[in-house]
Symmetry: C2
Subunit: 418 residues, 2 copies
């Protein structure tokens, strides 16, 4: 069978299953999730065996240690994947939620109700845990899913897919609820991105080049996350002890994440008091500092930051630092270099706090807290499929609600328009 026919068959199968899932009860969806969770444990051995093949091939290809680490599954990781599915089963079902109820003078009752999107395509890199993770979230929100993982994880993905497919069947839902594209041909992705008659939404998960490729080629709406260049601005009215704890946490607690701080902006009036001590602490934690000229003249022995630094998502222990004349300049810097992800101000001045969060255009704006909180679980929204830096449909954490749409149901007793 050609790749094209294969993709078309999968898309049609998913669409058909989505029409069934559309009205599936919460209890049957939860039952399927619990079965999937058990299925992963039951098939753990087969999954680990398949993963070994992927790891061996990746090592042979000379992939980096970080790459292999993301690719690698262990018993602990499988247990985590299994437990995450149980968590998703425990989250409230967004489907059927009444968003709004409008009663019209002519007696029409208009309900705006949350409903599944239909079919969601997920395109991701070689991280096999994404397979069960995305399958679970899409299913809970009543959507069929088409998964397309990285070539290097194909054996692991097929093994995981087999385990959860059996579980789906056992639960009584159609197998087409969860679909995996097994072809590693790159053209398969392009074909998938053409299927706008069958797929309602595409979510790419991975690096910037993957996401750009999806955006450039997709005929289907995309929810994406390019990168997170997050700033913390220490205002002249900041509590400097609080500021130190918050910015240290934002940078150091887990620097490889998209919500970690990449640039520290400091009001000139507090720079002298604040920067030497905080930079000392950063350096002790192994953070390389790249500062503006004024920072460099305050603290000796640091590299000068270039415009390119300000535009870089380091995802590691490097931090750019800039002293600014006032909050407006800080906001302008964020508008220029920020990626609309997470931005913070540390201040005790009420008006500055309000002006900052009103002015800064980002998914999440913090006053006196670490940007590291941008996360569906931390927000109390439950598990998420990613953080959107888009403005349409979903912004910030993409949880179950963001994997749905709505419809209007209008109930009448013979109303006609005059």
């Amino acid at each position: 069978m050609s790749v094209k026919t294969d993709i078309a068959n999968i898309a049609q199968r998913a669409k058909k299953a989505s029409q069934y899932l559309n009205t599936a009860s919460e209890s049957i969806k939860n039952k399927a999730l619990i079965q999937m969770s058990k299925g992963l444990l039951k098939d753990a051995e087969a999954i680990l065996k398949a993963n070994k093949l992927d790891i061996a091939a990746a090592s042979k290809e000379g992939k980096s240690a970080a790459f292999c680490d993301r690719l690698k599954l262990t018993e602990t990781r499988i247990k985590k994947m299994s437990a995450d599915l149980v968590c998703v089963a425990g989250l409230p079902d967004p489907v059927g939620q009444v968003i709004k109820m409008l009663k019209r003078p002519n007696g029409l009752m208009i309900e705006k109700i949350r409903v599944p999107l239909g079919v969601i395509g997920i395109i991701y890199e070689s991280r096999p845990d994404v397979t069960s993770d995305c399958a679970g979230l899409c299913l809970k929100a009543g959507n069929a899913v088409i998964l397309r993982g990285g070539r290097e994880s194909i054996n692991s993905n097929i093994a995981i897919y087999k385990a959860i497919s059996k579980a789906i069947k056992k639960s009584g839902l159609p197998e087409g609820c969860i679909n995996l594209i097994k072809s590693v041909d790159r053209k398969a992705v392009n074909m998938m991105l053409e299927m706008s008659d069958y797929i309602d939404l595409v979510i790419p998960r991975g690096g910037e080049s993957l996401i750009r490729m999806v955006v450039e080629n997709s005929k289907i709406p995309v929810i994406k996350h390019y990168k997170g260049i997050c700033h913390s601005y220490v205002d002249e009215h900041a509590d400097l002890d609080m500021a130190e704890e918050v910015v240290f946490n934002a940078k150091v607690q887990r620097p490889s994440t998209c919500n970690a701080m990449e640039c520290l902006l400091v009001h000139k009036k507090v720079a002298k008091q604040f920067l030497p001590r905080v930079i000392k602490r950063f350096k002790a934690a192994g953070v390389e500092i790249r500062g503006c000229r004024n920072t460099a003249s305050l603290v000796k022995g640091i590299k000068l930051a270039t415009a390119r630094d300000y535009a870089t998502e380091y995802l590691g222990l490097i931090l750019s630092v800039k002293i600014v004349d006032n909050m407006a300049v800080a906001c302008q810097h964020i508008a220029k270099y920020g990626t609309r992800h997470s931005e913070a101000i540390i201040t005790n001045n009420f008006q500055n706090g309000v002006t900052f969060f009103k002015t800064v255009d980002a998914a999440c704006v913090y006053v006196n807290a670490s940007t590291r909180f941008t996360d569906g679980n931390q927000f109390g929204l439950g598990a998420e499929i990613g953080i959107s830096t888009d403005k349409l449909h979903a912004r910030g954490p993409v949880g179950l609600e963001e994997l749905t749409t709505y419809k209007y149901v209008i109930m009448g007793n013979g109303q006609i328009r005059t």
Copy 2:
């Protein structure tokens, strides 16, 4: 100045203005809308004069009477455009609305707040009233707008734009809030659709070919409305008198609109009783009927419907009719030929009503009412910019709320992630 530089300048001007509008108060936006409303009346003479040039050119080019009618402005139409802006000023401001408030165990207060999208591009055909209409709605929702109307209405659009621009200036808002692309070069649209760094959303308003062109070429998210092939299904348990009134209204009250019924589905058990009388009434109102074989054998002298008929948005006095074995078949027909716009069932059976609205995938699903109600005003949502047949971001009427996005504002007192 080249078209490209011109478009880039406009886009940058709009983005700059949007940063100002982002925090503009409701009262200044309303003041601007009232000034715009007055400006149209004050400049009515100049607008009508410019419109005469457009009408003369269109007649010379041999444009249809319907085309010229949409293009034509009269004193009454300008008064209507002016009054509509006053209505928009009276609508509640969606910006700043708190959608959700989450209090976390660590004391973080997370507000999900409605905020403007930024810059919206509107690409439309030669209907000059769209110019003031879209400008007003975008402004009220706190967005800068870039308008690009049809070539044939360029003189009218420039005159309207001048009138509202003066008003914007008078109100104290930056002129860049409202922008008109004056170039009639088709390439200008393509350039506009590339400006994803400056424009956040594009809304095409017009026929299917315009919309397809925008979707194919846009690097910016699009909210669109392809077409409305709306069905009414008369169930075996319908009150046939009610059904007659409702389907007659859905077809005849204003057949040129997207929410008018194009296809009538009738359960076989009531077809004999229902169809002859309702077809007689349709025919008396000048509606041409195209029926399935069974319909044709029930009512003599009607054309046979083809698959192509079922896939056609007539936008006029033609109706396709099909007798179905049961509700499931009706739903399948709708899934195949419907455009996810507005679909109705007429039934007194509770379970059938519920199953229908759960099963049918459309922006608006009606039980016992005319599909003609799909409209922002009729829903009590206020004025709208169109009806979206998309599922992402906005579905159904696109009113002020749909012209916004949201952000999370997180307020803390030094919280860090552990």
